[in-house]
């Protein structure tokens, strides 16, 4: 291992103290600094935690992130606006529809572009399916952290059927590039609606079954109830949004508070918790699955006719058949594919309610066909700051449960 010694990077790594330290606690007690991760199944990604322990009690914790930083925000500046969508979807890899929705919304604001009704409804259907999918992955992996391996298989079974529907509508299971600036890529195929209705009829009973498995389990209840609670004042100071804030009793949800797309037309409830412990965090996300199903059903029933993407040919590609007959369509197609569309100079911040909280996309346009700055306010990144105040003074086993209930997605944190 002598070659490692020459690297300054390794030297810096070695400067972190892992040894037992005496901290003025007498001869019989000492603090222990424990490194958890970055490769650890319970960290939900490539997250590294430096925990300072006094026996089994966490005295302090430092999250160290950046291991999956891929510079997507920098990459986005090198690409035409419509080519940014695929890379931006890869940030938070469990909420790809949300990433592209926030980005497309910001660009549409700058273009002052009207999105057709049908496209908005199709967007809402896919966003809510994505929310259920994200919560299912969270529920499966969190239960796994608590020792319940069968939940993982049940949750991923339902997730499979959602991914099958994504595959039906867009051809891809993940990172679908389905949302485009001005609407969605193509209309839903025949059979999609029937499959979605079957799913909507089945999902609530599946969610009931999850609850039966978990909520009557003494081990799960004792590990979740009353552990690592944080009140809403502290959460708001840290900037936490989403299910974590709602679990503490604050019903803040952008879908209700500041409806975007067409969320003002659906009847749904915002589940809230009471004390903000891990059990409330679990219950809020679990209840959101039912509400998302309700939104999907209403969107499917009220799905209006019309175009699925804006008819503005300066922004959206012309239909394939027009290329053979219309010179103008050919020119538009050529311009869009080679240069892309230009966006007038300006700045926009478009916040939406992601599965983990406020997902805001900031886009600065300088008048060219490439964005001058794309920034994603990822909820996981901000929410991770709440981990230390949550777990200080609790057992290290509760740290694992709390990290699971925090639901961080490292692709979104590191971007």
């Amino acid at each position: 291992m002598s070659s490692l010694d020459t690297s300054s990077y390794r030297r810096r790594e070695e400067s972190i103290t892992y040894s037992a330290e005496s901290a003025g606690m007498g001869e019989t007690h000492e603090l222990l600094t424990l490194n958890i991760g970055p490769h650890h199944p319970a960290t939900h990604g490539v997250l590294r935690l430096l925990a300072t322990l006094e026996g089994e009690v966490v005295r302090d914790i430092k999250p160290i992130i950046g291991y999956v930083h891929t510079g997507i925000e920098k990459t986005a500046e090198q690409k035409a606006y419509w080519k940014v969508v695929p890379v931006i979807e890869r940030m938070d890899y469990l909420a790809y529809y949300f990433n592209s929705m926030a980005y497309c919304g910001a660009v549409e604001t700058l273009l002052e572009l009207e999105v057709p009704e049908r496209a908005q409804y199709l967007r809402v259907i896919h966003l809510e399916l994505n929310r259920i999918m994200s919560h299912l992955v969270w529920l499966g992996t969190s239960a796994l952290d608590l020792g319940a391996i069968s939940m993982f298989w049940y949750c991923f079974r339902e997730r499979e059927s959602i991914l099958d529907m994504f595959e039906m509508s867009s051809g891809q299971r993940m990172h679908t590039r389905y949302f485009q600036v001005g609407g969605v890529m193509e209309d839903i195929p025949p059979g999609f609606a029937a499959k979605l209705r079957r799913f909507c009829a089945e999902m609530p009973t599946r969610a009931d079954q999850y609850a039966d498995l978990l909520e009557k389990n003494q081990i799960v209840l004792e590990r979740l109830r009353g552990t690592c609670a944080l009140d809403q004042e502290t959460l708001l100071k840290i900037g936490v949004t989403g299910p974590l804030l709602r679990a503490a009793g604050n019903p803040w949800d952008l879908r209700k508070a500041h409806p975007y797309s067409c969320y003002d037309r659906f009847d749904f409830k915002i589940p809230v918790g009471t004390v903000g412990d891990n059990y409330d965090r679990y219950r809020v996300r679990h209840a959101e699955i039912y509400e998302s199903v309700k939104i999907i059903q209403q969107a499917l029933d009220g799905l209006p006719d019309g175009p699925h993407i804006t008819p503005n040919r300066k922004v959206s590609l012309p239909p394939r058949h027009e290329l053979a007959t219309s010179m103008e369509a050919l020119i538009h197609h050529f311009k869009l594919v080679t240069e892309g569309f230009r966006v007038p100079a300006g700045e926009a911040y478009y916040p939406i309610e992601g599965p983990r909280g406020e997902l805001g996309c900031f886009v600065r346009a300088d008048g060219s066909s490439k964005p001058a700055r794309v920034h994603m306010r990822d909820p996981s990144f901000v929410n991770l700051q709440a981990l230390a105040p949550m777990v200080r003074g609790s057992y290290i086993a509760d740290l694992i449960a709390t990290l699971a209930m925090l639901d961080p997605v490292l692709g979104g944190i590191d971007r």
Partner: protein, 169 residues
């Protein structure tokens, strides 16, 4: 969002306290922006927080190259009871980009400020733990600046590890 008149009123009231704090106002696409002087940004944020904008939704940096001063730091504030958003923008030069930290007002600004420092090199004075957050600690340069080139990033393998990390070519 406050409308254009509301934004001017807010700017006027903050200017009454300190006439040099607000440099300009911008209003476009329904988005209200107060351009503040870098030195008095904490006063402006504090004044806005007293007016109900108690939640810091986002904090991010922008490089306005080739405009001067180049760097910008944007604070997206949110009033949760009125469902109202306002943006505070400050501009600093690349020579000595120093901004007072907002972590005293909004503890949640800690990670976002570290990210802005990491990506743009803006130094937040008084920040409790100003280190790189996403890039490696020994990384040189500020990658989100517009004049930072894309590509050529060395990849550490065992065969070139001896050459030292970051000393490729």
């Amino acid at each position: 969002m406050p409308d254009a008149t509301g934004l001017e009123l807010t700017a006027h009231e903050i200017r009454e306290r300190d006439s040099d704090s607000i440099l300009a106002t911008e209003f476009s696409h329904g988005r209200a922006v107060l351009v503040a002087a870098a030195g008095s940004v904490i006063d402006v944020l504090g004044a806005l927080r007293e007016r109900g904008y108690t939640f810091l939704a986002s904090l991010h940096g922008v490089d306005y190259y080739p405009q001067q001063p180049r760097l910008g730091v944007l604070y997206e504030l949110l009033d949760m009871s009125e469902v109202d958003r306002i943006t505070v923008k400050i501009r600093v030069d690349t020579d000595d980009p120093r901004v007072p930290t907002a972590t005293g007002l909004f503890p949640g600004a800690e990670f976002p400020e570290r990210e802005v420092y990491d990506m743009f090199g803006v130094v937040f004075e008084g920040h409790p733990d100003l280190r790189r957050i996403l890039m490696p600690e020994d990384f040189e340069g500020f990658p989100q600046r517009r004049d930072f080139p894309v590509g050529g990033e060395p990849v550490l393998f065992t065969h070139n590890e001896r050459d030292g990390y970051g000393r490729w070519q």
